[in-house]
């Protein structure tokens, strides 16, 4: 049992969004769903312009409002402290979407067959791919995880279900870091047990001053930022990535 968290070194992040891409590839998320998102922010006016980047996974709060409001206990904190969604149980009521102050939840408006780049029921495609398994049915993500044996990885991607970052439960179970951490070309993302003083995350936190997003709400996020001060209230998002309509 661990209390896994993430430490993000903002002074290393180059805003390349490779973590967003790695997350999509690992978790087979539908178009427009970004369990990991990198804000590109701008402050000030020309020529005194400041540009900064802010990766935003799920905060995996120790005091998660989304878990409190979930009426069907689909949302829960797992044995490693990750806040996860049981997509078998989710009824898509949106309470978690409203309760979360970080905007990390994505509601699936479409059937998975229509939410990916190819029409996976198209006969030509089926013939050309030799009946390959569609990304939303990735067997690695369809299974049951943890002591509770619940379906909490990125499988199914069912219509009417809310989904979000799981800290890559399927990888953590194999002692691998989440995909975003693995792929970061400048090692800006760190992952590990916040309760272990020898973990990478604890050591980084002991060396550097950190902040968390919206700490005043007492959500107790397990995602910490170091290397920069928090973005100002007048920061504007540039180059936003939105779902293609």
């Amino acid at each position: 049992m661990a209390r896994n968290g993430m430490v993000i070194e903002l002074d290393r992040c180059q805003g390349c969004r490779a973590c967003m891409e790695a997350c999509k590839v690992e978790n087979n998320t539908p178009q427009g769903n970004f369990w990991m998102y990198v804000f590109r922010l701008e402050e000030g006016e020309y020529p005194d312009t400041k540009v900064r980047f802010l990766p935003r996974p799920c905060m995996h709060c120790d005091n998660p409002p989304c878990v409190t409001v979930c009426p069907v206990q689909a949302r829960f904190k797992n044995e490693n402290g990750a806040v996860v969604v049981d997509w078998d149980k989710c009824i898509g009521c949106h309470y978690c979407v409203v309760a979360c102050p970080y905007g990390v939840n994505y509601f699936n408006w479409k059937d998975p067959e229509k939410a990916y780049y190819l029409d996976w029921k198209d006969k030509d495609l089926v013939a050309a791919t030799g009946g390959a398994i569609p990304p939303y049915q990735n067997p690695d993500l369809m299974g049951r995880y943890g002591p509770q044996q619940r379906r909490v990885a990125g499988g199914g991607h069912l219509k009417g279900v809310v989904e979000k970052c799981s800290f890559c439960v399927q990888r953590v179970e194999q002692n691998l870091p989440p995909a975003c951490v693995e792929v970061c070309p400048v090692q800006a993302l760190h992952f590990g047990d916040l309760d272990d003083p020898n973990s990478d995350v604890s050591k980084t936190l002991s060396r550097k001053r950190s902040f968390r997003l919206k700490e005043e709400l007492n959500t107790q996020p397990k995602v910490f930022y170091v290397g920069q001060s928090p973005p100002g209230a007048r920061a504007r998002e540039i180059e936003a990535v939105k779902a293609k309509q």
Partner: protein, 618 residues
């Protein structure tokens, strides 16, 4: 480390830049000259380096040529008060002053340079570059102080000059005055002695005399007819072989005194019709090439519009390499090994070329493809390819790996991944680490060969537009685009988005999801003045100051305070790069708006990625 970003568009350097010099496009030469001026004025010169490792002490005659005796360049020896061959032991060459030698008035090249840049003060550059003079002086001071001239550092037992100031200006050369701008920026670091010193500017990750060092100096101009690349021509005697300029030649061979045009072309993993200036000229010209084969994993725009044959290439499913994977400090080699059998009808390019050359009767025997592979891959006995048997691709690279000293052969890469060869010795890495230093060559502060070429170009009747930038010292002139009428009040530049590679990635679904369409970056003040809001569709119209041609595209506006108000930016991806459902509606490439040809190429025929434009709400 202090980082200064010199760019009209702050982009991804933003969070890391301690200082932003939002330079006007096309004026890097003026900035570099002003930095040289300020560095000379503040006196932070590495005279040891200039005297011993550059041609700065060489005596220049009034006609611009070096003073020579018995074929040796002469320097002024302050010890004996006489001109001596530069290589004479024990002399004390002067960098400054005017003397009379061999009955001629001569000056050391550094003196000529110093007098030349005296006019280029930071105050002079201020309105040209749009950067306050004080900011230019501050950067010059920072460079001068941080260069730590005279300091040394001990690396692996080797004492080397330590000059921890550097600059990255790779693509700065792709502007009309880019050739001389690059030279002038290099000169900034020559003055500081930071060229190829520890912490300084390095041309490559390890030291070698660059193949162009002598080739450029000794470039020759032939008599016409010229070949279609215009190599060794009176137009571009130093030639970057730019497909955009070749397209101009294809469309008007007589103008360029070319009598033979290409009858066929093989396009290998490139999308020439979208990635070069200028797109309409490229498309018109390439349609005139009688036979085009394209090797590409995508049905690129090039393949779609002009290919007679498309040979689908594998991507991850092939042997490809070797690929240098060193970081400059550790040396490493990587090699791509296939993760699966090639998909569909695709094949690795090596398989394709083996088959092509076999069919063409050029695979076997002396001078055949296999013979060429033996040379190109430096295959050594007993691992050289037999010239009479067609090998498997894996076998070719197995022989390569064994020739490199890996007894396991290609299996090393199949099982171990990257071949890490350990730290690069300072003896290999630094010009100063050589014996003699810099392998005995002298960097050219003064480009005598450029002046020679200029005179030859003039003698052969080349127009001023071709020879005007062949000057021995970098010399400022206003870029041609500035002659466009005032209503073209903005300059367009293009740039790379970190999400994509060149014009070959925006059709990739997962990448395009991150950056789905073309956006024109506009400063909010400019947008307000023109009644444009974020997300509005805008018309961008470019103007060619030489021909009067205009070009138009439409794309959505993206407002940002991180760009100059007199500049608009468009990433160089998009433009329906491939026939692919996902590229529909992604918007245009800026290469439609840029021009090629006179006024819009460098003096080495290279692309110019800037043009004057106007914008309005569409």
């Amino acid at each position: 480390m202090k980082l200064v970003a010199i760019d009209p568009n702050l982009r991804g350097a933003g969070p890391f830049a301690d200082e932003w010099l939002p330079i006007k496009p096309g004026t890097d030469l003026a900035l570099a000259l002003a930095l040289c001026n300020a560095i000379i004025a503040q006196g932070t010169l590495d005279r040891q380096y200039l005297v011993n490792h550059t041609n700065a002490p060489f005596l220049v005659q009034e006609d611009g040529a070096f003073l020579r005796a018995d074929g040796k360049e002469q320097v002024w020896d302050e010890a004996s008060g006489a001109a001596k061959a530069f290589s004479t032991p024990g002399i004390k060459p002067a960098l400054e002053g005017r003397v009379n030698a061999q009955g001629r008035n001569v000056r050391p090249a550094f003196q000529v340079f110093k007098e030349h840049v005296a006019q280029y003060t930071p105050e002079w550059a201020d309105p040209i570059c749009g950067i306050p003079a004080e900011q230019i002086r501050r950067v010059a001071r920072d460079l001068g102080q941080n260069a730590m001239i005279g300091s040394t550092i001990l690396l692996d037992g080797v004492e080397l000059p330590y000059r921890p100031v550097s600059m990255m200006f790779y693509h700065m050369s792709q502007q009309e005055l880019g050739f001389q701008a690059s030279r002038a920026m290099f000169m900034v670091f020559m003055l500081l002695g930071a060229s190829e010193a520890v912490g300084g500017l390095q041309v490559d990750t390890s030291w070698a005399v660059h193949s162009g060092f002598n080739a450029m100096e000794n470039a020759t101009i032939k008599n016409p007819p010229y070949d279609f690349t215009l190599s060794n021509s009176k137009f571009f005697p130093i030639n970057s072989v730019n497909p955009g300029m070749i397209a101009k030649v294809i469309l008007d061979p007589q103008k360029y005194e070319v009598n033979k045009l290409p009858e066929m072309a093989i396009v290998h993993m490139a999308n020439v019709l979208t990635s070069f200036t200028d797109q309409p000229v490229m498309e018109e010209a390439w349609k005139k090439i009688p036979f085009v084969a394209v090797i590409d994993p995508w049905l690129s725009r090039t393949a779609d519009l002009v290919a007679d044959v498309v040979l689908p290439a594998a991507t991850m499913e092939k042997y490809e390499g070797p690929i240098g994977a060193g970081d400059g400090y550790e040396d490493a080699t990587a090699f791509r090994v296939p993760i699966m059998e090639p998909l569909f009808q695709s094949r690795g390019e090596m398989d394709i070329y083996l088959d092509l050359t076999e069919k063409a009767g050029r695979l076997f025997g002396s001078g055949g493809f296999l013979d060429r592979l033996n040379t190109a891959l430096s295959l050594k006995d007993p691992n050289r390819l037999e010239l009479s048997a067609k090998p498997a691709v894996r076998d070719i690279f197995d022989r390569w790996a064994k020739s490199q000293g890996l007894s396991e052969g290609i299996r090393f890469f199949e099982t171990k991944g990257v071949w890490n060869k350990g730290p690069v010795s300072p003896r290999k890495k630094y010009g100063y680490g050589q014996d003699p230093p810099f392998s005995g060559i002298r960097a050219r502060l003064y480009g005598e060969g450029l002046l020679r070429l200029q005179k030859e170009m003039q003698a052969k009747g080349a127009a001023q537009t071709y020879w005007q930038d062949y000057t021995p010292l970098p010399t400022w002139r206003p870029p041609t685009m500035w002659s466009s009428p005032p209503k073209y009040d903005l300059t367009l530049t293009s740039y790379k988005k970190i999400e994509f590679k060149q014009s070959r990635a925006s059709q990739v679904a997962l990448l395009a999801e991150l950056a789905p369409e073309q956006r024109v970056a506009i400063n909010p003040a400019t947008a307000r003045a023109k009644g444009i809001r974020d997300g509005d569709m805008v018309l961008v119209e470019s103007h060619n100051a030489v021909t009067g041609q205009t070009r138009q595209v439409k794309a959505k506006a993206a407002l940002t305070e991180a760009i100059r108000p007199d500049v608009v930016g468009m990433p160089h991806h998009y433009g329906e790069v491939a026939r692919h459902p996902l590229t529909r509606g992604q918007g245009p490439t800026p290469n439609t708006l840029f021009f090629t040809g006179e006024g819009y190429v460098t003096n080495t025929a290279d692309n110019t990625f800037h043009v004057r434009v106007r914008i309005e709400k569409a």
